[in-house]
């Protein structure tokens, strides 16, 4: 079985995001970019399934501009067999991303597609669910445990009420939560090895994907700041302050 993994490049989670003063976007020039943490987890899970003999091939997919190659090489260095770079200069909506994944799914016929539950830039939390809908296959979102046997996935999901377990026939889409696994670190020799692994580049335009976007972002703003608070010296001071606010 093949596994397709979404491998999105995002602004590193440690970066303090700055909104441009004219409200046209956030500052991304010269900012550190990394793999979406949820996608590292997705890739790790796929690699473990390959190591267990459940899968033979792991393919990382990135949708983005021409300079995505180095990022995809990281996915290959982590252990993916090959990469597909769907090239586009424009930002794509989750629906366009899902439609793009569907084209790749039709071509590659994977048994499993593992995506992050959300990308930490747009925080949309949509792509996996949309792909599953368009593909008419099961979705197991927010996964914290995955077991594959006899053509089905048994997935434990982190939901508001606790932990839900569902069973999904393969092929299926899984989206990862943070506690699914701890991604491995890339080792130096693997970076060398990754140089000879293939990256297929396809133009988004050539896939015949409807990339129309009916949602436009018109303005970016910094969030409202909370005003500076006060320090108290001891427990008694805290209780007094809370009583004064009517909170105790």
């Amino acid at each position: 079985m093949k596994i397709i993994v979404g491998y999105k490049r995002v602004v590193d989670y440690n970066v303090r995001i700055q909104v441009k003063p004219d409200g046209s976007g956030v500052v991304t020039d010269g900012v550190k970019l990394s793999a979406n943490p949820f996608d590292d987890i997705a890739l790790e899970e796929a690699l473990r399934l390959r190591e267990k003999g459940v899968a033979e091939e792991v393919i990382v997919v990135g949708i983005g501009p021409a300079d995505l190659t180095a990022h995809l090489r990281n996915g290959l260095a982590m252990g993916a067999n090959r990469a597909i770079h769907v090239q586009t200069a424009d930002a794509v909506s989750p629906l366009t991303a899902a439609r793009t994944f569907l084209k790749l799914v039709e071509k590659e016929q994977p048994g499993l597609v593992i995506l992050g539950k959300q990308a930490i830039d747009d925080d949309a939390n949509q792509t996996g669910q949309m792909l599953a809908a368009l593909w008419d296959r099961p979705q197991a979102t927010f996964a914290s445990k995955v077991e594959i046997a006899e053509g089905k996935a048994t997935v434990t999901r982190e939901v508001d009420a606790g932990l839900e377990t569902i069973e999904a026939d393969l092929p299926a889409v899984i989206t990862t939560d943070l506690r699914l696994n701890e991604p491995r670190f890339i080792k130096l020799p693997d970076i060398m090895k990754a140089k000879s692994k293939p990256i297929d580049v396809v133009e988004l335009g050539s896939l015949g994907v409807d990339a129309a976007d009916h949602i436009k972002t018109t303005h970016y703003a910094a969030p409202a700041k909370r005003s500076k608070g006060v320090m108290v010296n001891d427990a008694a001071g805290l209780v007094a302050a809370l009583k004064q606010k009517g909170l105790l």
Binding site: Y13, V19, V26, P94, Q126, E158, I166, P223, G229, A235
Partner: protein, 313 residues
């Protein structure tokens, strides 16, 4: 004419309060009608609760055995069918809504507006990106259905003085059997629900162990608060996952939030930005949590919490 369909969230035969928050957001778009759809194997009691929410025009009850558990793959085709004739479909931005709404959107051929914080107009919304470090205004083409999840912490629950009619709805939708519910392990607790509580006490890595977390529970019980945690505390196994507060956990807006032994990482702060008053207790005076706390107290939590309990009396 705008008509909004709100998807009811429920569990164990009870309506989740997040539904009434989504109704508040719907009302802000000033539509001609707000209908609630309840999908369940036994929707009657839930529909009756939904019918009381102020501002609701009518409640549509869809009874099917397949709806016994909230599986997105099973519910989405039904919601997509029911959405015909509606200009908007709203769901709360809980794990239920986040799982279901994008699947509905894709079936309707539209993208989704995630985590609506404010409604600027029927087709214009504000939502957070980058863990809430930027707020964007998004405009949806007037011609396409708006599918949105509602950031529950941004909206009060609509009151329950209404009396809307309930209609049974039968939908001609073929449902898949490829996805099956196995079980739900629910944390049992007599404490207030984290997402709706007026007061929340959260513990972080500083609490140190599962056993030590008792001190947090004890203090929370003293003031009638729900208990939350940082990701570090959940990852370390001190508490179960449903207690995580933050970007990838629960986004909450209590009147009082007390962070104990939590450093204040940006991903945690995302979850508490809308809290009324934030109190931080941390032994490190330089901890970033103090930059956003309304009231800060530097010191050892194991000393301070018992002192607080006796000071409260």
């Amino acid at each position: 004419m705008s008509k909004i369909l709100v998807i009811a969230e429920h569990l164990d035969g009870k309506l989740n309060a997040a539904t009434a928050r989504a109704v508040s957001a719907a009302a802000a778009a000033k539509p001609d009608a707000i209908d609630i759809i309840v999908l369940s194997d036994a929707p009657e009691a839930i529909a009756a609760e939904a019918a009381k929410i102020d501002g609701v025009t009518k409640v549509l009850a869809v009874a099917r055995a397949e709806n016994a558990h909230a599986l997105a793959a099973v519910l989405a085709p039904q919601v997509a069918k029911a959405a015909a004739g509606y200009s908007h479909v709203f769901a709360p931005s809980t794990t239920f809504g986040k799982d279901l709404a994008p699947r509905v959107a894709a079936l309707l051929g539209v993208s989704q507006v995630s985590d609506v914080m404010t409604v600027e107009g029927p087709h214009s919304f504000k939502r957070p990106i980058y863990a809430g470090n930027a707020i964007v205004t998004v405009d949806v083409d007037a011609g396409s259905t708006v599918v949105a999840t509602i950031r529950t912490a941004s909206w009060p629950a609509a009151a329950s003085n209404g009396n809307a009619p309930v209609e049974a709805l039968s939908l001609d939708a073929t449902l898949p059997s490829h996805t099956r519910f196995v079980n739900l392990q629910q944390g049992k607790s007599d404490r207030p629900d984290l997402q709706g509580a007026a007061k929340v006490v959260s513990g972080g890595r500083g609490v140190g162990s599962k056993e030590n977390f008792e001190i947090i529970y004890k203090f929370a019980d003293k003031i009638g608060a729900a208990v939350g945690a940082s990701r570090a505390a959940v990852d370390a196994g001190y508490v179960p996952n449903e207690m995580q507060v933050g970007q990838t956990g629960k986004i909450i807006a209590p009147e009082l939030y007390i962070a104990v032994g939590i450093s204040g990482a940006i991903q945690h702060l995302t979850g508490i930005k809308d809290a009324g008053t934030i109190v931080a207790i941390n032994k490190d005076g330089e901890a970033p949590i103090f930059e956003i706390a309304d009231i800060g107290l530097v010191g050892d939590l194991f000393k301070i919490l018992p002192e607080l309990e006796s000071a409260i009396g």
